[in-house]
Symmetry: C5
Subunit: 93 residues, 5 copies
């Protein structure tokens, strides 16, 4: 899994049936110091996250397991809110 | 999932049986400011997209779930048209 | 899926049982302008491709779906010959 | 699989049901000389690892196989403690 | 699949039950000219490979298919010994 921050929403009215009712958020992956790393992603939201929230995500075909109907085509899902990341002293510098 | 723009089509008459009738488009992955990022991909189209369309895609083995016959060898599928991407103010700069 | 060109063959007499009879080719991934991008891969051939052929490949665990016996350990398969890639004018420059 | 070192913990009280009771650690991937490489990851712990421990991890949807209930949405799991990595002489320089 | 060379072994006495009896080797991915590319990996050995051997590997959840008990958490497996890689003349330069 990886850390990320919700930076926006993706509006998509025309999509495959399997994604009906799935909320899509734009997420920026973050590193341990909470700096952006890599490209943004479109992730399905399983924990009522919103823009600005710090979250962690699961990728690959594990993402669909976060939803009741696991036969949906998603490869990135927001599965938790991050309260805090506690690092070893030498790694938090 | 990730954002992308359809930039062309891929003509392939000789292919494995499982891909018969599957429409293949060439897609350029995009970042949140809709600038190209990374290499193009060949994606199976599940939402009647065409060259120039802004779309989002799903990868890995979730891609085949976008099709009625999910036992097809595709690892990238166009699953929705992007109407708009709404970003937090500080992220849209 | 991604574009590639067959650049050679991989001779491997000692391998796991599941790969008996599977033809292994060395493939260079290509971008939309048909320039090499990234590292070569060893791919299982499902469409009688040969050195020099322009092809497209499928990765991850979708690759094995290209074969009759899908319980084989392959994560890259050549699934089609590319006749042509037709790009939008501004993208073909 | 890849080598890594546990550098901290991730506190997340609000998460999907499937992750209840799963311990989440922050892990830095390492190279063969045990230098950091790439971005940190959030991994589920299957071997009672703790901050500072040298471990190896499994990714993709193999990660969930490390747990009794394999229907959980995790794509990175700590599956072993590394006692030592023994390299060929020319590779350990 | 990708080319690699076994560069060492990984000693790990404390690991998840599913990995009992699985031999773990450290492998350096190689390019077509057999030069190192990218970071080392820890791979499960399915073909009695040893340090120095030239091999090819399979990744993702295809890796576990190389073993009799396919319900093991491995995402990289050595599935064959490379006798030779025969490249087109222009690609072998």
């Amino acid at each position: 899994m990886y850390l990320g921050q919700v930076i926006g929403t993706c509006v998509a009215t025309k999509k495959v049936d399997g994604l009906t009712g799935v909320r899509l958020l734009v997420v920026q992956p973050m590193n341990r110091k909470w700096k952006p790393v890599g490209n943004c992603q479109v992730a399905a939201d399983a924990v009522q996250a919103g823009p600005g929230d710090k979250v962690y995500l699961v990728g690959s075909n594990e993402a669909s397991k976060a939803f009741e109907n696991s036969f949906i085509p998603v490869d990135a899902a927001i599965v938790g809110h991050v309260d805090s990341v506690d690092l070893l002293e030498e790694d938090s510098k």
